[in-house]
Amino acid sequence: MGAIYEREVKSYFNTMTGYLVCAFLLMFAGVYVMAYNLNYGYPNFEYVLQGMSFIFMIVVPILTMRSVAEERRQKTDQLLYALPVPMTRIVLGKYFAMVTVFLLPTALIALYPLLLSSFGTVSFITAYGSLVGFIFMGAAFIAVGLFISSLTENQAIAAVLCFLALLVNYFLTSTTEFVSESSTASFVAVTVIIVLIALLLRVMTKNTFVSVVTFLALEVANVIVLAFSPDTLSGLLTTAMEKLSLFDRFDNFVGGVFDITSLVFYLVTAGVFLFFTVQSLEKRRWS
């Protein structure tokens, strides 16, 4: 894992990618500090982080697009498969390298509250609490990007898909306004998800029987819930969408709440997508 990590970090700074990521993060941090803290005179550094959180939509695709896709295109993934290192470690090495590249400019950004404190009172707890949230959120997004990169050989496609995934997540909460809260709407949404699960199962196991049985079992459960306890379903969809919004969860930190649940949620998201990445790479070996 160490060797992979080291190589990846070096390669980010042998090419432009690493510098680009640093430049973007530092530039936007500077612009928002300039606007909020210096221009308007707010003492709250967390507003800067909240304002610039959309930057992940640009930075994460740049950072993650090549991680696996480029290995695959250059056929260097062959080397990784032939190394006496388990796939999990290879993926973790790559992941931590990307997190490191993200942390370097973030460490510089972390100096702003100290700088600002020389002009007045800054709430360090909220500022650094938010920064922790910001870092965890970034780490979760990087895992998503890494997984998307493992799906294709083409960096550009990986970048676009990653951008879209983050975009959808960004607007997830605002779109809940347009989603009906009725139990029927949730029923339909749950049905769609069940169909997707069944299809995924069919694709992965190539076993029609298992997927049909799974579909029927889940759908019957869904119908039963709709028939006997429709209240459980009403609002389910909107609640789920709000809970899944990684961007939205960050607002808790900005609001002064050090939200452990959200930190755990970010970690779980990262873990799940790293697991998917390992599976995606292992699948290549077995297909």
Binding site: S11, D77, P84
Partner: protein, 328 residues
């Protein structure tokens, strides 16, 4: 020792490797020979743990590649068809990375890197970026990479493809030298190369092992299909009439007839030598033999014979299906 038992790999409805079995003894150079698409690369990918098999077992020193991949991968160095190199690194950086990833540490690492660079002759290139190296040098860096960690087995997939004749000779010498310390398995679709370098040849066609042995063994084994090229001073009808009355002749092919001279190719039954019989038969008929040559099957012929035909006519229904897939 490497044992490959009943290895099968199916992609969708295409069988790339079909019930392949062979063993590889330590300390020798093995050549996997077969036309493009015969399943050589797939076999090597499975042997190095880069690819899963549909069924079958690969064991190296008794360890199963699917049960203990990490242990096996330490014993095997692999150069895939396209050397897996990072273009924005120098050979030195790249070899350090691979050595580290293969768990070679400290002083041992520096020593091994120096050694493999010396063996492959890339010392002068160690600080250039890999993307600026010529194909030959990239191939060498690829081989150097496969030697790190001092593996017992070195597997090279088409190591000389795309090189110029001088480089090919250099790489072949390099491989021969590797054979002194390692078990080497290389693949090629060029017979001359395998013949020049390897102690043992495995001919693969359509995913199956069709012949195996040392170059000499193979030649001996297949002299059975010996033929005699003959030119006689007679017309075609007369010549074939004489041959038809002979024992031990299985097949007669008339090549040409001009100015009363007929050129024929006579195949002997059971690999016997029919030259004496031919002489007696023609002299009895008072037909002069102008020229007679015995031509033994060369490795080239064996190779073409085994790899040229579709496997459909050889065996049962399984192969019939197989043959159809290949044509599709």
């Amino acid at each position: 020792m490497i044992e490959v038992n009943n290895l099968t790999k199916v992609y969708g409805n295409h069988t790339a490797v079909d019930d392949l079995s062979f063993t590889v003894e330590d300390g020798r150079i093995y050549g996997l020979l077969g036309p493009n698409g015969a399943g050589k690369t797939t076999t090597m990918n499975i042997m190095t743990g880069c690819l899963g098999a549909t069924s079958g077992v690969v064991r190296i020193d008794g360890l199963d590649i699917f049960d203990e991949p990490e242990k096996i991968k330490r014993k095997v160095g692999y150069l895939p068809e396209l050397p897996p190199l990072y273009p924005d690194m120098t050979p030195m950086e790249f070899l350090e990375f691979v050595a580290k990833a293969r768990g070679v540490t400290g002083k041992e690492r520096t020593e091994q890197i120096e050694k493999v660079m010396e063996i492959t002759g890339i010392e002068e290139m160690q600080d250039r970026l890999i993307k600026n190296l010529s194909k030959g040098y990239r191939q060498r860096v690829g081989i150097a990479q496969a030697l790190l960690g001092n593996p017992e087995v070195v597997i090279l997939d088409e190591p000389t493809v795309g090189l110029d004749p001088k480089q090919i000779i250099e790489i072949r010498d390099l491989i021969k030298n590797l054979g002194k310390d390692h078990t080497v398995i290389l693949s090629s679709h060029i017979l001359g190369e395998v013949q020049a370098v390897c102690d043992h040849i495995l001919i693969i066609s359509h995913g199956r092992l069709v012949a195996s042995g040392t170059p000499n063994d193979l030649e001996k084994q297949f002299t059975g299909s010996s033929t005699v090229d003959l030119s006689v001073k007679a017309d075609q009808a007369r010549a074939t009439e004489i041959l038809a009355g002979m024992d031990g002749v299985s097949d007669v092919e008339v090549k040409s007839e001009a100015d009363g001279v007929t050129e024929l190719r006579v195949s002997a039954q059971d690999g016997g030598d029919v030259r004496e019989a031919l002489f007696t038969a023609f002299s009895k008929a008072n037909v002069p033999i102008l020229n007679m040559t015995l031509s033994k099957a060369s490795l080239e012929d064996i190779f073409l014979e085994f790899t040229g035909e579709e496997p459909a006519q050889n065996k049962r229904g399984k192969e019939a299906r197989h043959g159809r897939n290949l044509r599709a």
